[in-house]
C-alpha cells in the first residue's frame, strides 16, 4: 500500500487531475452561466397561475408565486431553523406600493387558484391581480359582477388599444412632422437674421417663413383638437376592480393592455400567450422607466450602430492589413506597427470612450457645429453624443480585431496562388483583387464578425459617446434626411446596466434585465460561433496546400 502510493505521487498523476479540474471548472462556469440566464430569461414569459392566499390574521392576498426559500437567520434570529417562506408577486403597485411580498409558511391558512381571477397588464403601475366588480361607461353602469364584466371587458380593450395606436400615430408622426417643419423654418429665419437682417430681400423672405410657421401652427391646432376628441373617447370606459381584501380601484380601460384569466387557461393557450409575450418584448417600446414593455429601440439602436461601425471599420482594417502583409517590407517598422496594433486591442475600452468624447464630440463635432449649424447654437447638433460618434469610437476599438484576422487570412493564402497568378502575366493589383482577396475572404469575414460581436457587447465607451436611457426617437425615421446620425440611441448593453442598476424598482425590473441579457448573449454567441466555424473552414480549405 505504501509503495504504490509513493509511486503514484511521484508519477504526478494527481497533478494531472488537478489540471483537469481547471478545465472542468471553466466549462462548468460557462455552461452554468448560460443556463442561468436562459432559465431566468425564458421563464419570465410564462404566465403562472394567480393564487389566492388566506393568512392567519384574516388577510387575503392575490398574486403569482415567485419562489420559496428557507428563512435566512439574518431576518429572524429567534425563529427555529428550517422554516420556509413564499415570495408572492402581489402587483397592484398603485394600491400597495410594492410588487413583491414575503409570506411565511406558517401564516398561510389556505392557498387556492380560483378560476375567476383576472390579471390585468397595464400601461402604468405594473400588473394588477383582482376581480372585476363592474364596467362603466362614463358614470353609467355597463355590466356588473365578475363574469359579466369579463365578457364586457374583452371587446372594450380591443377598441381602446386601436384608439391608443391611433393616438400615438398622431402624436408621433403627424404632430412630430409638424414640429420638425416649424423647427426647420425657425432655424432658417435665425440663419437669415444672422447673415444680414437689414436688407429688404431678406426681410421679405423672413416674412414668408414666418407665414409658414403660422400655417404650421394652425395645422398643429387642428391636430390637437382631433387628439382631444380621441382622448375623451379613449377614457370613456372604466372598470372597477376589487382586490383580495375588498379594496376597490377604478381603472380606465385605456390603461389596460391585456386582460387574462390565467387560472382557466390550458397548456396550449398558455403556450400561445408565451409566444405573444416573446414577440411583444422584441417588438414594442419600453414602458415605466424601461422596467416593462419591450426592448425594440435598444435592439434597433444596437444593430444600427454595429452596421455603421462595420461600414467604417472594414475598409480601414482590410487596407491596413493588406498593406502590412503584401506591400510593406517586413522590417522593424512593420513589427513596431504590429505591436502597436495588438496594443490597441488591449487598451481599456473606457479610454477609447474618453478619446471619443474629447476628439470626436468636442473637437470634431464642436467644429462641425460652428461651421455648418451656427443657427442652432448653443444647442449642439454634432457637438454632443450621437450614434455616429459612438460608432466611430467603436470602429477605432475594433480595428485591431479586423486587422489581425485579415492578416491571418492573407497569410493562409498559399504562395503558389500568388506566384501562379503573377506567372500568368497578371499585375500585382490584379493578383490582389482576383486571387488573394477572394481566398482571404473568410479571414476578413471572421474579423468583421468578431468586431461586430465585440461592438455589440461594449458599453463603457458608449456611455460617454451617445447612449441614453430612453431615446425619444429612433435614428432612422420618415422625416428628411431619414438617417439622423446626430441622434442619441439606445443600446442593449447599456439597457442592462440602466435597468438593472439605476431603475427605482430593481426587483420588478429583474426579468427585463434577464431578457435583455438573453438577447444580447444570443447575438454575441451566435456571431462568435459563426466566426469560429468560418475560421475552421478557412484553415481546412488551405491546410492541404500550405507546404
Amino acid at each position: 500500500m505504501r509503495a504504490p502510493f509513493k509511486k503514484f505521487l511521484a508519477s504526478g498523476n494527481v497533478f494531472i487531475w488537478g489540471c483537469a479540474a481547471g478545465v472542468s471548472v471553466s466549462l462548468l462556469m460557462v455552461f452554468g452561466l448560460l443556463l442561468l440566464i436562459m432559465i431566468n430569461g425564458l421563464g419570465y414569459f410564462w404566465i403562472s397561475d394567480v393564487a389566492e392566499l388566506t393568512l392567519k390574521d384574516g388577510q387575503h392576498m392575490m398574486g403569482q408565486l415567485a419562489g420559496r426559500e428557507v428563512i435566512p437567520r439574518s431576518v429572524t434570529p429567534d425563529r427555529p431553523e428550517g422554516k420556509g417562506r413564499l415570495r408572492v408577486k402581489i402587483g397592484n403597485r398603485d394600491l400597495y406600493g410594492l410588487d413583491f411580498k414575503w409570506v411565511n409558511d406558517d401564516q398561510i391558512v389556505s392557498l387556492t387558484y380560483p378560476t375567476e381571477m383576472v390579471l390585468l397588464e397595464r400601461r402604468e403601475w405594473g400588473n394588477m391581480y383582482a376581480r372585476i366588480k363592474a364596467v362603466y361607461k362614463g358614470e353609467t353602469l355597463q355590466a356588473e359582477g365578475n363574469d359579466a364584466g369579463w365578457i364586457a371587458l374583452g371587446p372594450l380593450i380591443d377598441t381602446t388599444s386601436a384608439l391608443h395606436q391611433q393616438i400615438t400615430r398622431i402624436e408621433r408622426v403627424e404632430i412630430g412632422s409638424i414640429n420638425a417643419d416649424i423647427e426647420q423654418v425657425r432655424l432658417k429665419i435665425r440663419a437669415f437674421e444672422m447673415e444680414n437682417p437689414s436688407s429688404t430681400r431678406q426681410r421679405g423672405q423672413i416674412d414668408d417663413l414666418k407665414a409658414q410657421v403660422a400655417a404650421a401652427e394652425s395645422r398643429y391646432q387642428e391636430k390637437t383638437v382631433e387628439l382631444e376628441a380621441l382622448r375623451t373617447q379613449f377614457d370613456e370606459y372604466s372598470v372597477l376592480m376589487v382586490d383580495a381584501n375588498g379594496r376597490e380601484k377604478q381603472i380606465p380601460v385605456g390603461q389596460i393592455i391585456r386582460a387574462l384569466r390565467p387560472n382557466e387557461m390550458n397548456l396550449l393557450h398558455k403556450s400561445w400567450i408565451y409566444f405573444t409575450n416573446v414577440w411583444s418584448v422584441l417588438s414594442t417600446e419600453p414602458r415605466e422607466a424601461n422596467t416593462e414593455g419591450g426592448i425594440f429601440p435598444a435592439i434597433f439602436g444596437t444593430v444600427m450602430m454595429v452596421i455603421i461601425m462595420s461600414i467604417v471599420v472594414v475598409p480601414f482594417g482590410v487596407l491596413a492589413a493588406l498593406y502590412m502583409r503584401e506591400y510593406a517590407k517586413q522590417g522593424t517598422m512593420v513589427r513596431l506597427v504590429r505591436i502597436a496594433v495588438n496594443n490597441l486591442a488591449g487598451v481599456p475600452s473606457i479610454v477609447f470612450g474618453v478619446f471619443g468624447l474629447g476628439f470626436f464630440i468636442y473637437a470634431i463635432g464642436g467644429t462641425l457645429d460652428t461651421l455648418f449649424f451656427p443657427e442652432r447654437l448653443p444647442t449642439p447638433t454634432f457637438g454632443t453624443g450621437g450614434i455616429l460618434w459612438a460608432s466611430l469610437t467603436l470602429a477605432l476599438l475594433t480595428v485591431p480585431v479586423v486587422i489581425v484576422s485579415t492578416e491571418e487570412g492573407l497569410a493562409a493564402v498559399p504562395r503558389e496562388f500568388r506566384e501562379g497568378s503573377l506567372a500568368l502575366g497578371a499585375t500585382k493589383l490584379e493578383t490582389m483583387l482576383k486571387v488573394v482577396i477572394p481566398s482571404a475572404l473568410p479571414g476578413i469575414l471572421t474579423g468583421l464578425i468578431l468586431a461586430m460581436a465585440r461592438a455589440a457587447g461594449e458599453v463603457a465607451p458608449l456611455m460617454l459617446t451617445g447612449v441614453v436611457k430612453l431615446a425619444p426617437s429612433l435614428p432612422v425615421d420618415g422625416s428628411w434626411p431619414f438617417f439622423h446620425f446626430d441622434r442619441k440611441f439606445m443600446h442593449l448593453g447599456f439597457h442592462i446596466y440602466d435597468v438593472g442598476f439605476q431603475s427605482p424598482n430593481v426587483e420588478a425590473a429583474k426579468p427585463m434585465v434577464y431578457i435583455t441579457t438573453l438577447v444580447l448573449i444570443t447575438v454575441v454567441v451566435l456571431l462568435n460561433f459563426t466566426a469560429i466555424v468560418l475560421r475552421n473552414h478557412l484553415r481546412k480549405k488551405y491546410a492541404g496546400s500550405v507546404l
Binding site: 504504490p4 503514484f8 511521484a10 508519477s11 504526478g12 498523476n13 494527481v14 494531472i16 487531475w17 488537478g18 489540471c19 483537469a20 479540474a21 481547471g22 478545465v23 472542468s24 471548472v25 471553466s26 466549462l27 462548468l28 462556469m29 460557462v30 452561466l33 442561468l36 440566464i37 435566512p72 437567520r73 439574518s74 434570529p77 505591436i339 495588438n342 496594443n343 488591449g346 487598451v347 481599456p348 475600452s349 473606457i350 479610454v351 474618453v354 478619446f355 468636442y362 468578431l450 465585440r454 457587447g457 458599453v459 463603457a460 460617454l464 448593453g493 442592462i496 438593472g500 442598476f501 430593481v506 434585465v513 441579457t517 448573449i521 454575441v524 454567441v525 462568435n528 460561433f529 469560429i532
Partner: protein
C-alpha cells in the same frame, strides 16, 4: 482573481498537453466564446445575482475552497485503484468530464451544509464573527464579488494565450523526454513549463492589463465608494469606473474634465506598457521556436 489565474493556467496545461486533439478542437472555442461575453453581462450577474447569493452562502464558499481540491484528489486516488478494464474504456483526456459530476457534487454538498458550516466555523453568524474578530464590515457589493466576475472575464484570455504558448513547444522535445522514461508530469514540469514560461507570463500580463481597464464589472458590482480600504469585504472604486461615473457631469474644459482625462492617460500608459512587454516576449518566443 487569485482563483482565476491558476484555474486558467491549469486548464490550459491540461488542454494542450493531455487532451485528445478532437476534444481540444471543441473545448477551445467554448472557452473563447466565454472571452467574448460582454462584460456588462458579467457585471450585471455579479451585481444582481452573485452578490446577494454570495452574502447568503459565504460560509459554504469558504468550505468549497477546501472541498473541491480535496474531492479532486480523492477521485484521482480512487481512479488509481480502479480495475484497468474501466480505465481503458475512457480515452485519455476524459478526466475533466469525470470530474464535472464530482465538482458539482462537492459544491452541492457545501451548499447543503451552509448553515452548519456557518455555525461550526463562525459561531452563529459570520458577519458578526468578522465584526468581532477582525473588525471587518461586510458589504454586499465587495471586492470579492468583483474578483469573481473579473476572474470570469480574464480566465479565457489567459487560457487561450498560454494554451497557444504551450502548444508551440516543439513536439519532438516532448517525445524525446517521454522516450527517455520521464513521466507525463515530469515532462511537463521540467520541460514544457520551462520553455513556455515566457508565454504564460505574457498571458498573465495581458490578463492583468484587461483587468485593470475593466469598467463595467467594477461599475456594477462594487459599491463605487471613493474611500479606499484594504479589506476584501468593502466596496471600492477603480480608475476606469471613476471615469465612467464622473465624466458625464464634467464640464468641457473644466478641472474635473482634465483630471479625468489624466486618469484615462494613466490607464492608457499603464496598459500600453504591460501589453508591449507581453507582446515582445511573445514574439521572441515565437521566433525562438520557429528555428526548430
Amino acid at each position: 482573481m487569485l482563483v482565476a489565474v491558476p484555474l486558467a493556467i491549469l486548464g490550459a496545461i491540461y488542454t494542450s498537453m493531455f487532451m485528445h486533439p478532437d476534444l481540444r478542437a471543441k473545448i477551445k472555442p467554448t472557452i473563447e466564446i466565454m472571452a467574448a461575453l460582454p462584460t456588462v453581462i458579467l457585471g450585471f450577474l455579479a451585481g444582481l445575482w452573485l452578490a446577494p447569493m454570495l452574502e447568503r452562502i459565504f460560509p459554504a464558499l469558504v468550505a468549497m475552497t477546501v472541498a473541491v481540491p480535496v474531492s479532486v484528489a480523492v477521485t484521482a486516488i480512487i481512479w488509481q485503484y480502479l480495475p484497468a478494464a474501466i480505465i481503458r474504456r475512457l480515452r485519455p483526456g476524459m478526466e475533466s468530464f469525470v470530474l464535472i459530476p464530482v465538482i458539482i457534487g462537492a459544491v452541492w454538498i457545501c451548499l447543503g451544509l451552509n448553515q452548519s458550516i456557518e455555525s461550526f466555523l463562525f459561531g452563529s453568524d459570520y458577519k458578526a464573527w468578522f465584526a468581532t474578530h477582525w473588525g471587518l464590515r461586510y458589504d454586499q457589493r465587495n471586492a470579492l464579488v468583483v474578483g469573481f466576475a473579473m476572474g470570469f472575464a480574464i480566465v479565457p484570455i489567459i487560457f487561450s494565450i498560454s494554451e497557444e504558448a504551450l502548444s508551440n513547444v516543439p513536439r519532438h522535445l516532448i517525445a524525446g523526454s517521454l522516450a527517455l522514461g520521464a513521466t507525463r508530469w515530469q515532462t511537463l514540469v521540467k520541460l514544457v513549463l520551462v520553455s513556455a514560461s515566457p508565454g504564460i507570463f505574457s498571458a498573465l500580463m495581458i490578463g492583468f492589463g484587461r483587468a485593470i481597464g475593466e469598467t463595467m464589472i467594477v461599475l456594477m458590482a462594487t459599491g463605487n465608494t471613493p474611500i479606499m480600504d484594504w479589506s476584501l469585504f468593502n466596496g471600492f472604486r477603480t480608475l476606469s469606473a471613476n471615469i465612467a461615473v464622473e465624466i458625464p457631469e464634467a464640464p468641457h474644459g473644466g478641472t474635473l474634465y482634465r483630471v479625468l482625462f489624466l486618469a484615462a492617460v494613466l490607464l492608457f500608459v499603464f496598459t500600453f506598457l504591460i501589453n508591449t512587454v507581453a507582446e515582445v516576449i511573445r514574439q521572441r518566443l515565437r521566433t525562438k521556436y520557429s528555428q526548430y
